[in-house]
Amino acid sequence: MPGFFAMFLLGLVAACSPAPLGVEVWDPYEAENRARHAENRAVDTALLRRSAHAYGETVPEPVRRAVGNFAGNLSLPGAAVNSLLQGRPDAVVENTFRFLINSTLGLAGLFDPATEFGLHGRPTDFGETLHVWGAPEGAYLELPFIGPSTERDAVGFVADIALDPVRILLPRDARGLAFGSRFGALIGDRYEYSGLIDSTLYESADSYAQARLIYLQSRRFQLGDESFTTYFDPYEELYGD
Protein backbone atom coordinates (compact mmCIF):
# COMPACT_ATOMS: atom_id res chain seq x y z
CA MET A 1 0.00 0.00 0.00
CA PRO A 2 2.71 2.58 0.82
CA GLY A 3 4.29 1.58 -2.50
CA PHE A 4 1.11 2.44 -4.32
CA PHE A 5 0.91 5.76 -2.50
CA ALA A 6 4.48 6.56 -3.54
CA MET A 7 3.79 5.64 -7.15
CA PHE A 8 0.73 7.85 -7.10
CA LEU A 9 2.70 10.83 -5.80
CA LEU A 10 5.57 10.26 -8.23
CA GLY A 11 3.02 10.10 -11.04
CA LEU A 12 1.61 13.39 -9.85
CA VAL A 13 5.03 15.03 -9.88
CA ALA A 14 5.99 13.44 -13.19
CA ALA A 15 2.92 15.11 -14.64
CA CYS A 16 4.62 18.46 -14.02
CA SER A 17 7.11 19.00 -16.79
CA PRO A 18 10.79 19.10 -15.74
CA ALA A 19 12.60 22.41 -15.59
CA PRO A 20 14.53 23.04 -18.81
CA LEU A 21 18.27 22.59 -18.41
CA GLY A 22 20.34 25.67 -17.83
CA VAL A 23 17.37 27.74 -16.71
CA GLU A 24 17.78 28.60 -13.09
CA VAL A 25 14.27 29.87 -12.48
CA TRP A 26 11.33 28.17 -14.14
CA ASP A 27 8.20 30.16 -13.52
CA PRO A 28 5.51 29.53 -16.15
CA TYR A 29 2.76 30.58 -13.69
CA GLU A 30 4.37 33.91 -12.91
CA ALA A 31 1.19 35.99 -13.36
CA GLU A 32 -0.84 33.79 -10.96
CA ASN A 33 2.12 33.54 -8.58
CA ARG A 34 2.46 37.31 -8.48
CA ALA A 35 -1.22 37.63 -7.62
CA ARG A 36 -0.78 35.11 -4.75
CA HIS A 37 2.32 37.02 -3.63
CA ALA A 38 0.39 40.29 -3.40
CA GLU A 39 -2.28 38.53 -1.30
CA ASN A 40 0.30 36.87 0.94
CA ARG A 41 2.03 40.16 1.48
CA ALA A 42 -1.29 41.79 2.40
CA VAL A 43 -1.94 38.99 4.92
CA ASP A 44 1.52 39.51 6.38
CA THR A 45 1.02 43.26 6.66
CA ALA A 46 -2.44 43.00 8.20
CA LEU A 47 -1.94 39.99 10.42
CA LEU A 48 1.36 38.17 10.68
CA ARG A 49 3.78 41.04 11.02
CA ARG A 50 1.61 42.76 13.61
CA SER A 51 0.98 39.60 15.64
CA ALA A 52 4.65 38.70 15.44
CA HIS A 53 5.63 42.06 16.89
CA ALA A 54 3.03 41.85 19.63
CA TYR A 55 4.07 38.27 20.41
CA GLY A 56 7.79 39.10 20.42
CA GLU A 57 7.33 42.14 22.62
CA THR A 58 4.92 40.73 25.19
CA VAL A 59 5.90 37.07 25.53
CA PRO A 60 9.28 36.65 27.28
CA GLU A 61 12.07 34.95 25.37
CA PRO A 62 12.19 31.70 27.43
CA VAL A 63 8.47 31.14 26.83
CA ARG A 64 8.82 31.82 23.11
CA ARG A 65 11.70 29.40 23.03
CA ALA A 66 9.65 26.73 24.82
CA VAL A 67 6.82 27.15 22.28
CA GLY A 68 9.33 26.81 19.43
CA ASN A 69 10.89 23.75 21.08
CA PHE A 70 7.49 22.12 21.60
CA ALA A 71 6.44 22.62 17.98
CA GLY A 72 9.87 21.57 16.74
CA ASN A 73 9.65 18.38 18.76
CA LEU A 74 6.30 17.54 17.18
CA SER A 75 7.88 17.83 13.75
CA LEU A 76 10.45 15.11 14.55
CA PRO A 77 8.29 11.98 14.00
CA GLY A 78 7.41 13.24 10.52
CA ALA A 79 11.09 13.98 9.85
CA ALA A 80 12.02 10.48 11.04
CA VAL A 81 9.45 8.93 8.68
CA ASN A 82 10.80 10.97 5.76
CA SER A 83 14.40 10.07 6.67
CA LEU A 84 13.33 6.43 6.51
CA LEU A 85 11.66 6.91 3.12
CA GLN A 86 14.86 8.58 1.92
CA GLY A 87 16.95 5.61 3.04
CA ARG A 88 19.01 7.64 5.51
CA PRO A 89 19.34 5.47 8.61
CA ASP A 90 21.64 7.92 10.43
CA ALA A 91 19.02 10.66 10.08
CA VAL A 92 16.27 8.26 11.23
CA VAL A 93 18.29 7.49 14.36
CA GLU A 94 19.14 11.13 15.06
CA ASN A 95 15.54 12.37 14.63
CA THR A 96 14.14 9.48 16.67
CA PHE A 97 16.58 9.86 19.56
CA ARG A 98 16.13 13.60 19.58
CA PHE A 99 12.38 13.08 19.83
CA LEU A 100 12.70 10.49 22.62
CA ILE A 101 15.13 12.60 24.67
CA ASN A 102 13.26 15.88 24.30
CA SER A 103 9.86 14.24 24.92
CA THR A 104 11.09 12.78 28.23
CA LEU A 105 14.05 14.69 29.71
CA GLY A 106 12.86 17.80 27.87
CA LEU A 107 9.41 17.63 29.52
CA ALA A 108 7.21 16.88 26.50
CA GLY A 109 9.48 18.88 24.26
CA LEU A 110 9.37 22.22 26.08
CA PHE A 111 13.13 22.04 26.57
CA ASP A 112 15.84 20.90 24.23
CA PRO A 113 18.46 18.84 26.08
CA ALA A 114 19.12 16.76 22.93
CA THR A 115 21.06 19.65 21.36
CA GLU A 116 23.47 19.47 24.27
CA PHE A 117 24.11 15.84 23.39
CA GLY A 118 24.95 17.00 19.86
CA LEU A 119 21.63 15.77 18.45
CA HIS A 120 20.59 18.82 16.42
CA GLY A 121 18.07 16.83 14.42
CA ARG A 122 17.90 16.60 10.64
CA PRO A 123 14.89 18.60 9.53
CA THR A 124 13.41 17.15 6.37
CA ASP A 125 10.09 16.81 4.59
CA PHE A 126 8.32 14.89 1.87
CA GLY A 127 9.45 17.40 -0.74
CA GLU A 128 13.00 16.23 0.00
CA THR A 129 11.86 12.60 -0.11
CA LEU A 130 10.48 13.22 -3.61
CA HIS A 131 13.81 14.81 -4.56
CA VAL A 132 15.70 11.77 -3.27
CA TRP A 133 13.37 9.54 -5.28
CA GLY A 134 14.30 11.45 -8.38
CA ALA A 135 11.29 13.71 -8.88
CA PRO A 136 12.19 16.98 -10.65
CA GLU A 137 11.70 20.31 -8.90
CA GLY A 138 8.95 21.40 -11.28
CA ALA A 139 7.73 24.94 -11.70
CA TYR A 140 8.03 27.63 -9.08
CA LEU A 141 4.83 28.26 -7.12
CA GLU A 142 3.75 30.78 -4.57
CA LEU A 143 1.05 29.12 -2.46
CA PRO A 144 -1.70 31.01 -0.62
CA PHE A 145 -0.69 31.57 3.05
CA ILE A 146 2.28 29.17 2.71
CA GLY A 147 4.41 31.34 0.43
CA PRO A 148 7.24 30.30 -1.90
CA SER A 149 7.24 26.68 -3.06
CA THR A 150 7.66 24.50 -6.12
CA GLU A 151 5.44 21.88 -7.70
CA ARG A 152 7.48 19.18 -5.99
CA ASP A 153 7.41 20.94 -2.60
CA ALA A 154 3.67 21.61 -2.86
CA VAL A 155 2.99 17.90 -3.33
CA GLY A 156 5.37 17.22 -0.45
CA PHE A 157 3.53 19.68 1.75
CA VAL A 158 0.21 17.88 1.27
CA ALA A 159 1.84 14.46 1.72
CA ASP A 160 3.48 15.60 4.98
CA ILE A 161 0.09 16.46 6.45
CA ALA A 162 -1.26 13.08 5.36
CA LEU A 163 1.76 11.15 6.66
CA ASP A 164 2.30 13.03 9.93
CA PRO A 165 2.40 10.43 12.74
CA VAL A 166 1.59 13.13 15.30
CA ARG A 167 -1.62 14.06 13.52
CA ILE A 168 -2.54 10.38 13.15
CA LEU A 169 -1.62 9.21 16.65
CA LEU A 170 -2.42 12.21 18.82
CA PRO A 171 -5.74 12.08 20.67
CA ARG A 172 -8.31 14.42 19.17
CA ASP A 173 -8.32 16.88 22.07
CA ALA A 174 -4.53 17.28 21.92
CA ARG A 175 -4.54 18.25 18.23
CA GLY A 176 -5.57 21.80 19.02
CA LEU A 177 -2.51 22.14 21.23
CA ALA A 178 -0.26 20.80 18.48
CA PHE A 179 -1.75 23.17 15.93
CA GLY A 180 -1.60 26.11 18.33
CA SER A 181 2.04 25.52 19.15
CA ARG A 182 2.89 25.36 15.46
CA PHE A 183 1.14 28.65 14.87
CA GLY A 184 2.98 30.13 17.86
CA ALA A 185 6.29 28.87 16.48
CA LEU A 186 5.48 30.38 13.09
CA ILE A 187 4.74 33.76 14.63
CA GLY A 188 7.88 33.41 16.75
CA ASP A 189 9.97 32.75 13.62
CA ARG A 190 8.34 35.72 11.89
CA TYR A 191 9.53 37.83 14.84
CA GLU A 192 12.99 36.24 15.07
CA TYR A 193 13.73 36.69 11.35
CA SER A 194 11.90 39.98 10.93
CA GLY A 195 15.09 41.66 9.66
CA LEU A 196 15.41 39.34 6.68
CA ILE A 197 11.66 39.02 6.04
CA ASP A 198 10.90 42.75 6.24
CA SER A 199 13.83 43.65 4.02
CA THR A 200 12.75 41.10 1.40
CA LEU A 201 9.01 41.76 1.51
CA TYR A 202 8.90 45.50 2.05
CA GLU A 203 12.21 47.06 1.12
CA SER A 204 13.08 45.41 -2.16
CA ALA A 205 12.17 46.77 -5.55
CA ASP A 206 10.60 43.48 -6.65
CA SER A 207 9.76 41.46 -3.54
CA TYR A 208 8.22 38.65 -5.59
CA ALA A 209 11.39 38.07 -7.61
CA GLN A 210 13.60 38.37 -4.52
CA ALA A 211 11.53 35.87 -2.53
CA ARG A 212 11.57 33.48 -5.50
CA LEU A 213 15.34 33.71 -5.95
CA ILE A 214 16.11 33.34 -2.24
CA TYR A 215 13.68 30.43 -1.82
CA LEU A 216 14.95 28.47 -4.82
CA GLN A 217 18.60 28.94 -3.94
CA SER A 218 18.25 28.04 -0.26
CA ARG A 219 15.96 25.10 -0.96
CA ARG A 220 18.42 23.67 -3.50
CA PHE A 221 21.23 24.21 -1.03
CA GLN A 222 19.26 22.44 1.70
CA LEU A 223 18.59 19.49 -0.60
CA GLY A 224 22.22 19.43 -1.72
CA ASP A 225 20.92 19.72 -5.27
CA GLU A 226 24.08 20.51 -7.21
CA SER A 227 22.39 20.26 -10.61
CA PHE A 228 21.49 23.93 -10.42
CA THR A 229 24.82 25.16 -9.10
CA THR A 230 26.10 27.56 -11.68
CA TYR A 231 28.95 29.61 -10.38
CA PHE A 232 28.68 33.05 -11.73
CA ASP A 233 31.93 34.70 -12.77
CA PRO A 234 31.52 38.47 -13.18
CA TYR A 235 35.07 38.84 -14.52
CA GLU A 236 34.25 36.71 -17.53
CA GLU A 237 31.45 39.09 -18.41
CA LEU A 238 33.52 42.21 -17.88
CA TYR A 239 36.84 41.14 -19.34
CA GLY A 240 35.32 38.69 -21.84
CA ASP A 241 38.14 36.28 -21.13
Binding site: L196, A205, A209, S218, F232, Y235
Partner: protein, 208 residues
Protein backbone atom coordinates in the same frame (compact mmCIF):
# COMPACT_ATOMS: atom_id res chain seq x y z
CA UNK B 1 40.79 34.90 -47.69
CA UNK B 2 44.49 35.54 -48.24
CA UNK B 3 46.05 32.32 -47.03
CA UNK B 4 44.41 30.02 -49.56
CA UNK B 5 45.08 32.40 -52.44
CA UNK B 6 48.78 32.42 -51.74
CA UNK B 7 50.98 30.01 -53.62
CA UNK B 8 52.51 27.14 -51.65
CA UNK B 9 55.52 29.01 -50.48
CA UNK B 10 57.39 29.19 -47.23
CA UNK B 11 55.47 32.39 -46.67
CA UNK B 12 52.16 30.55 -46.83
CA UNK B 13 53.41 27.85 -44.51
CA UNK B 14 54.51 30.49 -42.11
CA UNK B 15 51.10 32.18 -42.18
CA UNK B 16 49.30 28.87 -41.72
CA UNK B 17 51.39 28.06 -38.73
CA UNK B 18 50.88 31.49 -37.33
CA UNK B 19 47.10 31.15 -37.74
CA UNK B 20 47.20 27.72 -36.14
CA UNK B 21 49.29 29.03 -33.29
CA UNK B 22 46.96 31.98 -32.78
CA UNK B 23 43.95 29.66 -32.71
CA UNK B 24 45.70 27.38 -30.26
CA UNK B 25 46.70 30.34 -28.16
CA UNK B 26 43.16 31.66 -28.02
CA UNK B 27 41.81 28.24 -27.11
CA UNK B 28 44.45 27.76 -24.45
CA UNK B 29 43.72 31.10 -22.86
CA UNK B 30 40.00 30.30 -22.76
CA UNK B 31 40.78 27.07 -20.93
CA UNK B 32 43.43 28.58 -18.73
CA UNK B 33 42.56 27.77 -15.14
CA UNK B 34 45.23 29.98 -13.63
CA UNK B 35 44.78 33.70 -13.11
CA UNK B 36 42.68 32.88 -10.05
CA UNK B 37 44.15 33.65 -6.68
CA UNK B 38 45.84 30.74 -4.96
CA UNK B 39 43.75 28.98 -2.31
CA UNK B 40 46.05 29.80 0.60
CA UNK B 41 46.06 33.53 -0.20
CA UNK B 42 42.27 33.51 -0.68
CA UNK B 43 41.82 31.78 2.65
CA UNK B 44 44.05 34.33 4.37
CA UNK B 45 41.95 37.13 2.87
CA UNK B 46 38.69 35.62 4.16
CA UNK B 47 40.26 35.03 7.57
CA UNK B 48 41.19 38.70 7.67
CA UNK B 49 37.70 39.84 6.58
CA UNK B 50 36.03 37.62 9.17
CA UNK B 51 38.22 38.75 12.02
CA UNK B 52 37.66 42.42 11.13
CA UNK B 53 33.88 41.95 10.81
CA UNK B 54 33.66 40.07 14.10
CA UNK B 55 35.84 42.74 15.74
CA UNK B 56 33.41 45.43 14.59
CA UNK B 57 30.31 43.47 15.63
CA UNK B 58 31.65 42.76 19.09
CA UNK B 59 33.03 46.29 19.59
CA UNK B 60 29.70 47.51 21.00
CA UNK B 61 29.90 50.79 19.08
CA UNK B 62 26.84 52.60 17.71
CA UNK B 63 25.15 51.17 14.65
CA UNK B 64 26.13 54.17 12.50
CA UNK B 65 29.80 53.77 13.48
CA UNK B 66 29.68 50.05 12.73
CA UNK B 67 28.09 50.56 9.32
CA UNK B 68 30.81 53.06 8.40
CA UNK B 69 33.43 50.50 9.42
CA UNK B 70 31.76 47.76 7.40
CA UNK B 71 31.94 50.03 4.39
CA UNK B 72 35.70 50.34 4.93
CA UNK B 73 36.01 46.56 5.09
CA UNK B 74 34.14 46.28 1.77
CA UNK B 75 36.35 48.97 0.26
CA UNK B 76 39.51 47.20 1.34
CA UNK B 77 38.69 43.54 0.73
CA UNK B 78 35.82 43.35 -1.76
CA UNK B 79 36.14 43.96 -5.48
CA UNK B 80 33.46 46.64 -5.33
CA UNK B 81 34.22 47.88 -8.87
CA UNK B 82 33.52 44.49 -10.36
CA UNK B 83 30.49 43.80 -8.13
CA UNK B 84 28.98 47.19 -8.99
CA UNK B 85 29.49 46.77 -12.75
CA UNK B 86 28.12 43.26 -12.57
CA UNK B 87 24.93 44.19 -10.72
CA UNK B 88 24.30 47.00 -13.23
CA UNK B 89 24.12 44.33 -15.92
CA UNK B 90 23.82 45.52 -19.54
CA UNK B 91 23.41 49.14 -18.36
CA UNK B 92 27.08 49.13 -17.31
CA UNK B 93 28.01 49.14 -21.00
CA UNK B 94 26.05 52.25 -21.89
CA UNK B 95 26.79 54.21 -18.71
CA UNK B 96 29.48 56.91 -18.70
CA UNK B 97 32.65 56.53 -16.64
CA UNK B 98 31.38 59.22 -14.26
CA UNK B 99 28.09 57.37 -13.81
CA UNK B 100 29.90 54.10 -13.14
CA UNK B 101 32.08 55.61 -10.46
CA UNK B 102 29.16 57.44 -8.82
CA UNK B 103 27.13 54.24 -8.90
CA UNK B 104 30.03 52.25 -7.43
CA UNK B 105 30.34 54.64 -4.49
CA UNK B 106 26.56 54.67 -3.87
CA UNK B 107 26.32 50.89 -4.19
CA UNK B 108 29.19 50.38 -1.72
CA UNK B 109 27.34 52.37 0.93
CA UNK B 110 24.05 50.60 0.17
CA UNK B 111 25.73 47.20 0.48
CA UNK B 112 27.46 48.11 3.74
CA UNK B 113 24.20 49.34 5.28
CA UNK B 114 22.00 46.52 4.00
CA UNK B 115 24.31 43.65 4.91
CA UNK B 116 25.87 45.42 7.89
CA UNK B 117 22.47 45.62 9.62
CA UNK B 118 22.09 41.88 9.16
CA UNK B 119 25.54 41.24 10.65
CA UNK B 120 24.03 42.10 14.01
CA UNK B 121 22.49 38.62 13.96
CA UNK B 122 26.05 37.31 14.15
CA UNK B 123 26.80 38.66 17.63
CA UNK B 124 28.54 35.89 19.54
CA UNK B 125 28.99 33.73 16.45
CA UNK B 126 32.19 31.78 15.92
CA UNK B 127 33.47 31.47 12.39
CA UNK B 128 35.76 28.73 11.24
CA UNK B 129 37.19 28.19 7.78
CA UNK B 130 36.86 24.63 6.59
CA UNK B 131 38.83 24.97 3.38
CA UNK B 132 39.40 26.58 0.01
CA UNK B 133 39.16 25.12 -3.47
CA UNK B 134 40.06 26.24 -6.94
CA UNK B 135 36.96 26.52 -9.13
CA UNK B 136 38.95 27.33 -12.26
CA UNK B 137 38.38 31.04 -12.62
CA UNK B 138 38.39 31.83 -8.93
CA UNK B 139 38.80 30.40 -5.46
CA UNK B 140 35.96 29.40 -3.18
CA UNK B 141 36.60 29.64 0.55
CA UNK B 142 34.11 27.82 2.78
CA UNK B 143 33.43 29.19 6.25
CA UNK B 144 30.99 28.04 8.90
CA UNK B 145 29.32 30.20 11.54
CA UNK B 146 28.39 28.55 14.80
CA UNK B 147 25.64 30.40 16.64
CA UNK B 148 24.48 29.67 20.15
CA UNK B 149 21.43 27.38 20.21
CA UNK B 150 21.16 27.21 16.42
CA UNK B 151 22.45 24.80 13.81
CA UNK B 152 25.65 26.06 12.16
CA UNK B 153 25.39 27.81 8.84
CA UNK B 154 27.67 28.13 5.90
CA UNK B 155 29.09 31.17 4.12
CA UNK B 156 31.11 30.67 0.93
CA UNK B 157 33.38 33.42 -0.35
CA UNK B 158 34.42 33.78 -3.97
CA UNK B 159 37.86 35.33 -4.29
CA UNK B 160 39.70 36.45 -7.41
CA UNK B 161 42.90 38.36 -8.13
CA UNK B 162 41.92 39.34 -11.66
CA UNK B 163 41.86 43.00 -10.78
CA UNK B 164 45.42 42.87 -9.47
CA UNK B 165 45.06 41.80 -5.87
CA UNK B 166 43.11 39.22 -3.88
CA UNK B 167 39.58 40.49 -3.39
CA UNK B 168 36.25 38.78 -2.77
CA UNK B 169 33.42 39.38 -5.22
CA UNK B 170 30.65 37.21 -3.82
CA UNK B 171 29.31 35.78 -0.57
CA UNK B 172 27.05 32.75 -0.75
CA UNK B 173 25.09 32.46 2.49
CA UNK B 174 23.47 29.05 2.92
CA UNK B 175 23.31 28.69 -0.83
CA UNK B 176 22.02 32.22 -1.49
CA UNK B 177 24.37 34.20 -3.70
CA UNK B 178 24.60 37.86 -2.75
CA UNK B 179 25.70 38.73 -6.28
CA UNK B 180 22.66 37.00 -7.82
CA UNK B 181 20.29 38.65 -5.36
CA UNK B 182 21.75 42.13 -5.97
CA UNK B 183 21.85 41.71 -9.75
CA UNK B 184 18.16 40.99 -9.67
CA UNK B 185 17.37 43.72 -7.17
CA UNK B 186 19.37 46.47 -8.90
CA UNK B 187 17.87 45.32 -12.22
CA UNK B 188 14.37 45.73 -10.75
CA UNK B 189 15.28 49.17 -9.35
CA UNK B 190 16.53 50.24 -12.78
CA UNK B 191 13.32 48.97 -14.42
CA UNK B 192 11.24 50.97 -11.93
CA UNK B 193 13.23 54.06 -12.92
CA UNK B 194 13.02 53.27 -16.64
CA UNK B 195 16.75 52.71 -16.84
CA UNK B 196 17.65 56.12 -15.38
CA UNK B 197 21.01 55.44 -13.70
CA UNK B 198 21.32 58.93 -12.24
CA UNK B 199 18.03 58.54 -10.40
CA UNK B 200 19.11 55.11 -9.20
CA UNK B 201 22.38 56.55 -7.87
CA UNK B 202 20.56 59.35 -6.05
CA UNK B 203 18.04 56.92 -4.51
CA UNK B 204 20.63 54.30 -3.54
CA UNK B 205 22.37 56.82 -1.30
CA UNK B 206 19.42 56.72 1.08
CA UNK B 207 18.71 53.01 0.82
CA UNK B 208 19.92 49.83 2.45
Amino acid sequence: MAIDDLPRTPRRQFLTRLAGFAAFGAGASALRPARAANPAAAQALVQQVLSEIMGIINSGRSEAAMLAEFEQVFTRYADVNVIARSVLGPSARTASTAQISAFTAAFRGYMARKYGRRFRELIGARFSISGARDLGNFIEVVSTAALVGQPPYEVRWHVSDRSGSNLFFNMVIEGVSMLAVEREEIGAMLDQRRGDIDRLIADLRGMG
